[in-house]
């Protein structure tokens, strides 16, 4: 996510102000600006693409409703990450209580859209990595995606995840060795 780790992009300041006043166009412009990063997080936390889309829709709507209360104590990016992550947690709570609609697999990451990249094929050399990533507990996966994938500091990741910085560190310490082992073995094989 752009400028996820620090102060908001100064160019966005006026747009954020307009969005806070209820300017729908300004808000959706902000969403589009941050969407790719948020999509990257949510689609990897919720592998069922339909559910992931719904979670994002939920999160974006919640963000718009909550935007007047955004006080700029974190960057807008971090704030949006937090809303998206909480929406993922809500979704997990719901699906835990109900029959599974999808299972996590590389196949679930396939993009069936005509002309779009086929994720499973694109990551053919990374399938073991993908499987390992997707097999991580959601909280650990989120920490990896935010810090290693999104470039957030531990402190910002802790804000998004709603846990102390030390917890972020311990989650990363648990998650990274497996991922590194796979990547290193792939590197040796190639």
């Amino acid at each position: 996510m752009r400028k996820a780790d620090g102060d908001p992009d100064p160019k966005l300041g006026p747009v954020i102000a307009r969005a806070r006043r209820g300017d729908a166009q300004a808000f959706t412009a902000l969403l589009r600006y941050h969407d790719r990063a948020l999509r990257g997080l949510v689609f990897r936390l919720i592998p069922d693409r339909d559910r992931a889309e719904d979670v994002l829709q939920d999160a974006y709507l919640k963000a718009f409703r909550a935007l007047p209360g955004f006080r700029g104590e974190s960057s807008l990016a971090t704030w949006l990450y937090r809303i998206a992550y909480n929406a993922c947690l809500d979704e997990r709570r719901r699906t835990r209580a109900a029959p599974k609609e999808a299972t996590i697999s590389v196949e679930d990451l396939r993009d069936p859209r005509a002309g779009g990249p086929d994720i499973a094929e694109t990551v053919v050399g990374r399938s073991a990595f993908v499987v390992a990533l997707m097999s991580l507990p959601l909280e650990e996966r989120a920490a990896v995606l935010l810090v290693d994938g999104g470039g957030l500091s531990y402190a910002d990741a802790a804000h998004v995840l709603g846990v102390p910085v030390g917890t972020v560190a311990s989650r990363l310490n648990r998650a990274r060795p497996t991922l590194r082992r796979i990547l290193e073995s792939e590197g040796e094989a190639s």
């Binding site: 709507l61 209580a97 859209r113 990595f129 991922l179």
Partner: protein, 444 residues
């Protein structure tokens, strides 16, 4: 970049190489529409916290409350296997329903589109009074439906495939207060919601488990359903009910283990006040409006006899708390039954009883020649409803055989044919209550 020194470069590179799926083609259009709606609500002074104000603008779906009510009733009949006892469920649910006079909230509905194989999502705001008024508004799209119990008139704005992108305005008047005759529309949500509720009512061995649902204690109920013979649709329903309020929060329908639809009620509120204006929609001045009249007219019970030519049967015994809320009569009404297979309905009297959100309707219609063949007035094409024959043992109708229908697909009901009338009792009643009401009817 702050914190970059803590980033694992190898993993970062691997993640960066993973493609990110694109949105559905309509994703941004829906976001734009949802946000625009939200802005519109704000301009009208309807913020997320302004529950009372929200009433005046965005209201409820009768079908939703029908679900709430029916789930509640259904729960009364459950034999529990989890920690929650039937008595506990009954107490909570009854208390929740008795104290609320209105509910409002937001619905998220996801359903598999069998033509495209894609799951489509829609959102509605709803409000509903215990009197039966409701309003249902599609968020981020075109669709607004309001029913005013005082007038028995339903007004709707929607789109029609045949009209292209244009709006379609409709007024349905003369509606019956409830089944088996056509009442307020539940076409938007009705089937799934109704099925959820009815499944509970008809299930002989349901399970109630205690679960954590989004941090709240909830009961989860799973029941089997008979799929439609013609278009197999659903064979299992999974329903989550909030322990605190007794309201259903989520219902998932599956067929052969595959997802079919999901309904979630979010942001459920119990507003203290409401404006009757909430249940009427204004159309543009020159809008072309399709008007239909179901033939039913509201009137005092004492006046009904002169209209239908007989004394509408009034039950002498009804479950505690119920009160006669509406009397509607029609000289002519659409045929009932699966595919409208029954003889034409004439001289119909419908008496609606309410208790909070609970409702049941006692309907009588004149019979024609003796050789007329009548089938279940609430029958559905493609489905063999589970029914049993009950021989009434008490009251003026003692000895009469009646059909008791408790099936997940249809509102619980009991119907019978007398020499002059076809009588139906349908609504939020369990088996013994249905029988008790019918056995207290006077001789026609």
């Amino acid at each position: 970049m702050k914190g970059n020194r803590e980033r694992d470069a190898l993993i970062a590179q691997a993640i960066a190489q993973l493609p990110i799926p694109e949105h559905r083609p309509d994703f941004w259009a829906k976001i734009d529409a949802l946000v625009t709606d939200e802005v519109s609500f704000r301009r009208q002074g309807v913020g997320p916290q302004s529950v009372a104000a929200r009433w005046t603008l965005r209201a409820a779906a009768g079908v939703v409350v029908a679900v709430v009510v029916a789930v509640a009733i259904a729960l009364l009949q459950l034999r529990t296997t989890g920690e929650a006892s039937a008595a506990e469920v009954k107490e909570r649910v009854a208390a929740a329903l008795m104290k609320e006079q209105a509910v409002a909230g937001e619905i998220v509905y996801r359903a598999l589109d069998s033509r495209t194989g894609k799951v489509e999502t829609e959102r509605w705001r709803f409000a509903n009074t215990a009197r039966g008024d409701f309003r249902l508004t599609v968020l981020g799209g075109t669709g607004d439906l309001a029913y005013d119990t005082r007038t028995g008139v339903e007004r709707a704005i929607t789109t029609s495939a045949s009209l292209g992108a244009g709006r379609f305005y409709a007024v349905r008047s003369g509606l019956a207060p409830g089944p088996p005759d056509p009442g307020p529309s539940d076409s938007v949500l009705g089937r799934e919601l109704g099925a959820v509720v009815r499944a509970l009512l008809a299930a002989h061995d349901p399970r109630v488990d205690e679960i954590d649902y989004g941090g709240a204690q909830a009961w989860r109920v799973v029941v089997p359903v008979r799929p439609n013979r013609v278009y197999p649709d659903v064979d299992r329903l999974d329903i989550t009910v909030d322990q605190e309020t007794g309201f259903p929060l989520r219902a998932v329908a599956t067929l052969g283990g595959h997802f079919r639809s999901e309904l979630r009620i979010v942001d459920l509120k119990a507003p203290a006040t409401l404006s009757p204006a909430a249940f009427s929609i204004r159309f543009p001045k020159h809008a072309e409006v399709l008007r239909t009249d179901g033939g039913f007219r509201r009137m005092p019970l004492d006046d009904a006899r002169s209209t239908v030519g007989y004394s509408p049967p009034v039950p002498a015994r009804i479950p505690t708390g119920y009160q006669l809320a509406e009397v509607a009569v029609a000289r002519r009404a659409p045929s009932t039954g699966a595919g409208g297979a029954n003889p034409p309905s004439r001289d119909v009297a419908a008496l609606a009883y309410r208790r909070g959100f609970d409702k049941f309707v006692v309907t009588s219609r004149a019979r024609g020649p003796r050789d007329e063949r009548w089938r279940d007035p609430l029958g559905i094409e493609g489905i063999n409803l589970r029914s049993t024959v009950v021989t009434l043992t008490r009251g003026a109708l003692a000895g009469t055989r009646a059909q008791l229908v408790l099936d997940p697909r249809v509102v619980p009901h009991l119907w019978l044919v007398t020499p002059d009338l076809v009588i139906t009792v349908a609504g939020d009643l369990n088996r013994s209550q249905l029988v008790e009401v019918v056995e207290s009817l006077p001789a026609p």
